[in-house]
Symmetry: C2
Subunit: 496 residues, 2 copies
């Protein structure tokens, strides 16, 4: 179509009646070998079903393997208790309903929280190690191997909504633990009997005359394959951050930023199911990581291009990221003083340095291109209250409040670097994004059509589905709901 950007290859479902012989027959086909695919494969295979996992790349892992590895767990896990924290499924659910909204899925959250301790034990039984120690400061990824971290629970507005308890559970690893997590989950799936077919790209769903999904068509080294799934197909293909036409249609604010993906999050599973009449939810939503060092932000101020603060700087940094991209068009700076800068050890700075330094707030604001006097007014107000240990504007916790003293430095977040685990050119737009929207599913992973009815034998989990999330995000909820609802989807598909 002239002027209409292509979303990719045809995803129109194919009629199974035209297929005389399948290249492969199995019980459950899982499309995509990230965390949701691995969890689904383990559970399906454990029931005794024959399971084949397809992945278009030459090995498992997907975006999950590139992640920090945090898993959002709570309700009183052994790690929480060992660190001295009480928690309950109800408090955890209250937090998630608020933090993942508006539009968070209350039913999925209720189930996720009720079974979170069980899910913790399942992960441990698979071999995921968690260390019972707390990293007690805002961070994207702690620089230690601490197994527990805060993800906004101890900051406003959440302290007003639920009893604070840290719920970020990290596999024992320095820095990014996603690789370890995926190694463990893939080994578990393989041991349970799941077979993997790599370099195999699912292209279309195969559908019987009555609308039941009976398999997938795929391509492997240019040759088409047809695969029969006697019991069900589970789509765990990830989100669509790598599909620019889909971003343009659904989430234009996410375009042009660094993509958090393995390069294969092209929305193919979402589109294949939509072409069969599947419904989607929250396609505009996205997680926004920004090149802001949480330790700097908490000890200073985050301001927009009018020199105004707009968020409590001690909150989960992804909340600052969403506010920066969706509300401030990424025109944001961290302003801090020498004491705040030096308080963050060099390795935790990820190479981020001040972009401007000045003797006065007025001079600094001028260097930053802010309206005259704006930064001075903001710093004066901040300091006046910080000296009394309060922040009436945004309620940053007293622990982080201290008047800033000249000289002052500003860090332009747009000019910042990306986290070290992300490859390639380390200079970006200051934002690293992935999509949260996807297929409308039941708690058990059934993909629903436009009428709200399940499409027979079609399942989805992970970022191919709309999971716990509405428009908000908290680290650990992707690996968390990917593994948790991946398990449920794998079980449901196997018992069909």
């Amino acid at each position: 179509m002239t002027g209409i950007p292509s979303t990719g290859r045809s995803v129109t479902p194919r009629s199974a009646t035209e297929i005389r012989q399948y290249d492969l027959e199995t019980d459950v086909v899982i499309v995509g070998y990230g965390c949701a695919g691995a969890a689904a494969a383990f559970e399906a295979a454990t029931t005794g079903a024959e399971v084949v996992v397809l992945d278009r790349t030459s090995g498992p892992g997907g975006a999950s393997a590139m992640s920090g590895g945090e898993i959002y767990l709570g309700g009183g896990t052994p790690i929480q208790r060992a660190c001295g924290f009480e928690d309950s499924p109800e408090q955890m659910a209250a937090f998630l309903r608020s933090a993942l909204g508006p539009g968070a899925d209350a039913e999925k959250i209720a189930r996720y929280c009720a079974d979170s301790v069980e899910h913790y034990h399942w992960l441990v039984a698979r071999g995921v190690p968690f260390k019972p120690s707390l990293w007690d400061a805002p961070a994207w990824v702690p620089p230690t191997d601490d197994g527990l971290m805060w993800l906004g629970e101890s900051s406003r507005p959440f302290t007003e909504i639920a009893a604070p308890a840290p719920r970020g559970h990290r596999p024992t690893a320095h820095d990014f633990g996603g690789k370890l997590l995926m190694e463990v989950l893939v080994a578990a799936a393989e041991t349970a009997g799941a077979m993997a077919h790599f370099d195999t790209t699912a292209t279309n769903l195969l559908v019987a005359e009555d609308g039941t999904v009976v398999g997938v068509a795929a391509r492997r080294y240019g040759r088409e394959q047809t695969i029969l799934a006697r019991r069900g197909v589970v789509l765990t293909t990830g989100g669509f951050v790598d599909n620019d036409a889909m971003l343009a249609a659904h989430a234009p604010r996410l375009r042009g930023h660094t993509k958090v993906s393995a390069g294969t999050d092209d929305g193919s599973g979402i589109r294949m199911a939509q072409a069969l009449g599947a419904a989607v939810r929250h396609m505009s939503a996205g997680q926004v990581g920004i090149s802001l060092i949480p330790g700097f932000a908490a000890r200073g101020m985050v301001v927009n291009d009018r020199g105004q603060r707009f968020v409590n700087e001690d909150t989960y940094p992804g909340r600052i990221g969403q506010a920066a991209l969706f509300r401030q068009e990424m025109n944001v700076w961290v302003v801090l003083d020498e004491e705040g800068y030096e308080a963050v050890p060099e390795p935790q700075r990820w190479g981020v340095r001040p972009t401007h330094v000045a003797e006065t707030a007025d001079e600094l604001g001028e260097l930053m291109g802010l309206p005259p006097g704006a930064l001075t007014a903001t710093v004066s107000r901040y300091n006046e209250f910080a000296s009394r240990g309060i922040d009436p504007d945004f309620h940053k916790a007293e622990r982080w409040l201290r008047p800033l003293t000249a000289p002052l430095a500003a860090i332009d977040v747009k000019a910042g670097v990306r986290p070290p685990a992300e490859s390639g050119d380390r200079r970006g737009t200051g934002a690293s994004v992935f999509t949260l929207g996807g297929l409308h599913t039941t708690v058990d992973g059934e993909v629903l059509d436009l009428n709200g009815d399940p499409i027979p034998r079609l399942y989805a989990a992970g970022r191919a589905a709309s999971g716990l999330h509405g428009e908000g995000y908290i680290s650990g909820t992707s690996l968390g709901d990917g593994t948790f609802f991946g398990r449920l989807a794998g079980r449901a598909a196997a018992r069909t």
Copy 2:
């Protein structure tokens, strides 16, 4: 489904092979008799095609008839020229690409702007009256019968993007002109030969074995009807603000506010087409009217719940509305002084009165529940620069800048009233919304599937389609693109 909100009755397409005899046969079926349906009906009938327009209510009009009647036109219309303004399709397009973004449809905008003068003459030829006089202040709807109004073109940021020219064209009527517009368009369609069937609710598309749309199933007084469309079906069913499950899935921030609709914008056309594999765009986007009197805002300040300004108050008020709802959770106030209040004649105040009055900004801020000293700081800064005729923070035009003098008043926008033309309880949440997202169409109104290919003989226009808009909005672009692309869709359907 337990816990899954129903989006309504089944929209699964039905196979035409099961239909032995149709209740009605025609060339073109148009579903929904708002402005897009009327424009499509006129054009299709004018080509000589037999046209039937269905509407579920007992008469034409839809949400269009309840609107202010503004149509966004430019590029040098006779009204613009009579009022002394130069304009070009290029400047108009530059404005719309910015104002309707991110994600605005550049191809549709280019065509819309290139043919805007022609569309003006088409409207006039149908009998829509426009008076060559300008209302020269920000307004939702001018209190006069002036035919031309500014819709943000003369304010930041747009003055930096395109040469300012007013493009809001209003049918000659006091206050709301949508009723007049619809009377004219419906009369034109009827005169051209289009037949209307009221109290008839389209429920499902009828589809031939090869996927071609061949008609619709409908219900009339509880009885099912099948209607054959020899040439094409045009969906002009409106948006989905009346479908709470769809809002929850796609636009959760729009939930709970006053709905700008005739009560029938339940997304049925969007869902019917999606069930056939149609793609959608920008389903999260919405227009936000707020109970803010633009004349008050321009003469005062708009502040959030930290007492900060966040927008230039002289811009198109819908921009303030989107910022208020999407960025400030509707926690917004207008702050002004007696001179500003009195400058707006009583009838233009729509009954809006100060919610708080005080002798000092400090005291007013306290009454409003703002952080201590915040409002005083904002008023001081505003006044300091206003006395010099500048607004370095938001670049409100000099015309509206004047230091505010005590006593000061605040108007809580959340407590405000709705525009007088909206019926029922006049107290709302302060916001009146409708949806902008819909079916992915070509410029000619062809509905595209997930592959980007047209679904044979299926067309859409108006708010059932994603039109010019990405996430932004300007008044007059709904009636504007509804009538304009309705015309193109009607022509395309008739010539199929």
